[in-house]
């Protein structure tokens, strides 16, 4: 089966100047990622690891430095952002942003927020067509018709999250990229939004790339998970397996840091310190070196590659945790 999206050797750096010296911040550093049709992939990692930058690269909101992005086998990474925005492919990858309050135009009603991408990307022939598409999208995300004339300040957090999802789904994308879509919601509203996303992915065979620091949510929603650290993917695998038996020492520390109700874990592994700077990183050392409890001498002089260590399981580590 052709992957829906395939990113290869994707790199994004930002130029920064420190004390008059020009440096490069390697936000996304040689990333490979595959998303199959209908698949829900979780992208997790600490703040600053590059997960949001990777999401924006894949959504074609920012330009990559190098690497390929293939959508249904066709290279789209080399198409300029202006041309991509005007191309039919723009409809096929849509994004849902983190804070539903900040990402909605306060002067657009819920109807207009959902109608805007239809006007731009589908160019409906009539008001009736526009309305039928907006109403259909609102129905699918569980937004009542009487809510549509309201403005963002008149909507609850859960309703705003639904507007954000509806305006992405209204153009019938193949891939929905969601950057922390539930982090601003109360647990009760969050449960509904997660179930909605699971239902959408089953009903409309849309693939999800779900970016989150909340690993519990990723565990429940996603088929597969990719763990990022310092711009690189350090582990991938089936979500249930990665959570029950993490193989990369970083993934293990990350998962043991999540509190779980009913689990007494006072003796758990603790990860102190902060990730190293992504500015001009040492190309020879493993990115996790210095913070890793399993590191040995070779980790400082030979960068590990992402390699398959078990069926459907990859880890970027010389000494992965045994199962």
């Amino acid at each position: 089966m052709t992957p829906l999206l395939q990113a290869s050797r994707l790199v994004k750096t930002f130029a920064i100047s420190r004390g008059g010296r020009q440096s490069r911040l390697r936000a996304v550093d040689d990333v490979d990622l595959i998303i199959a049709p209908g698949e829900a992939v979780g992208l997790v990692g600490e703040s600053g690891c590059g997960k949001s930058t990777l999401a924006r690269l894949l959504a074609r909101l920012i330009e990559r430095d190098s690497g390929d992005i293939r959508l249904d086998g066709a290279e789209i990474g080399g198409v300029s952002l202006e041309r991509f925005t005007a191309s039919p492919d723009r409809r096929r990858i849509q994004m849902v942003f983190q804070d539903p309050t900040d990402s909605l135009n306060p002067r657009f009603s819920a109807f207009d927020a959902i109608a805007d991408p239809v006007r731009v990307l589908i160019k409906p022939r009539s008001r009736a067509e526009l309305e039928s598409r907006v109403f259909a999208a609102a129905d699918r995300v569980g937004l009542a018709r009487e809510v549509l004339p309201r403005f963002p300040h008149q909507l609850s957090g859960g309703q705003k999250a639904r507007v954000g999802i509806a305006r992405a789904m209204v153009v019938e994308p193949k891939l929905l990229i969601l950057d922390e879509p539930t982090s601003a919601l109360d647990v009760s509203a969050q449960a509904n939004v997660l179930k909605l996303l699971a239902r959408l992915s089953h009903e409309s065979a849309v693939s999800l790339l779900f970016v989150s620091h909340d690993l519990n949510v990723v565990r429940l929603l996603c088929d597969r998970v990719a763990v990022m650290y310092l711009g690189k993917i350090v582990e991938t695998g089936r979500a249930s397996e990665v959570f029950s038996a993490p193989r990369h020492p970083y993934t293990r520390a990350l998962i043991s840091a999540i509190p779980r109700i009913g689990v007494r874990d006072d003796a758990r592994e603790r990860l102190d310190g902060e990730p190293r700077s992504p500015i001009d990183p040492d190309p020879r050392a493993c990115g996790f070196h210095g913070r890793c409890v399993r590191q040995r001498e070779m980790c400082a002089r030979e960068p590990p590659e992402l390699r398959t260590i078990a069926p459907a399981r990859e880890a970027r580590c010389h000494f992965p945790v045994e199962t």
Binding site: S47, S156, S188, A191, D214, L221, P259, R260, I261, E274
Partner: protein, 321 residues
């Protein structure tokens, strides 16, 4: 253990342009020395208003309708401003939700710790400087000499929150009120910050009120948990009892909506409806009753209060589970 803080019968209303918001009604709980009490609930349940009231930090629109907050045999709600200013920062400290917003952006973090020390424990510059570095070391900030000269924007969110905790703990308070101290931080940083708060509570007998919407965090760190809904305390119990056998229907619903307990997505249950608008004149006796599947005629009878249902276990419900 002795009672450190006792809040009782606390009712607070806010005057707004669209009516009076009955934010808290007859809220009560106690905190013992060395104990971590979790206060959990959805947004708008009154968690932060309770914290601000104890510290005398409510804004001018707020009116304390009734209640007491006893600390050291004194009612914090009736102290003069100068008395409160002597206590705040010295005996009672607060850690705020957004660490970057809580710090002064144009003063070095070392100077901000020194300000608090100089206010409450006047000493020579050299002594204050030494204590400042000690406070930074206590929260495990690497290279405290250099970091003390940093401005908040130069530090990560996790580092800023460590500074916030360093300020709070610098004068060795006996009561710490932490309002969502790790919301917005990474789980790894959250674990470091919360371990630090717990270790300090154990070592120094510090009492902590931990306000959080994260039930799993409350499970890991709290001795007892108080659940709030729409300005009411609905249940208070020791941690194990509350999570294993919740007695208030709202607590049960809250637990069923927590992702960390679910094995599959289908296990998650959303809480239907929303809390009532607290500006309403016809607020029900039980503010959860309109969302509750167990509601009966008895629920509308006046005089609802927390009843003992087990050892140290209280719930405000006419039809408890």
């Amino acid at each position: 253990m002795s009672t450190l803080l006792s809040v009782s019968d606390l009712s607070i209303a806010f005057r707004t342009s669209s009516g009076v918001v009955r934010a808290l009604q007859r809220v009560g709980f106690t905190l013992r020395a060395g104990e971590i009490l979790g206060v959990v609930g959805e947004s708008g349940s009154g968690k932060s208003v309770t914290a601000l009231a104890i510290l005398g930090l409510l804004d001018a629109a707020a009116r304390i309708v009734s209640g007491r907050a006893e600390f050291d045999g004194r009612d914090l709600l009736r102290l003069r401003r100068s008395e409160l200013e002597d206590i705040r920062g010295r005996d009672i400290a607060m850690v705020f939700q957004n660490p970057r917003a809580a710090l002064n952006p144009i003063r070095t973090v070392g100077a901000q710790i020194a300000d608090v020390l100089a206010r409450h424990t006047p000493a020579s510059t050299a002594v204050i400087r030494a204590k400042t570095l000690e406070a930074l070391r206590a929260v495990r900030i690497p290279d405290p000499e250099r970091r003390s000269r940093a401005l908040p924007f130069e530090l990560s969110g996790g580092m800023c929150q460590r500074v916030g905790i360093a300020i709070a703990l610098s004068c060795a308070p006996r009561l710490l009120i932490a309002d969502e101290p790790t919301t917005g931080l990474d789980v790894t940083t959250q674990a470091v910050i919360m371990d630090l708060i717990r270790d300090t509570a154990r070592e120094r007998g510090l009492g902590v009120v931990l306000i959080t919407h994260d039930l799993a965090l409350a499970w890991r760190y709290c001795d007892r948990v108080t659940v709030m809904h729409a300005g009411h305390v609905v249940e208070t119990a020791p941690r194990d009892a509350l999570f294993a056998r919740p007695r208030h229907p709202y607590t049960e619903k809250l637990l069923l909506s927590a992702p960390s307990r679910a094995v599959r997505l289908d296990d998650l249950e959303a809480i239907e409806g929303a809390p009532p608008d607290l500006r309403r004149d016809d607020l029900p006796v039980c503010r959860f009753s309109e969302r509750c599947s167990r509601r009966g005629a008895i629920c509308d009878e006046p005089g609802l209060s927390l009843e003992a249902l087990g050892p140290d276990h209280f719930a405000a419900c006419r039809k408890p589970l």
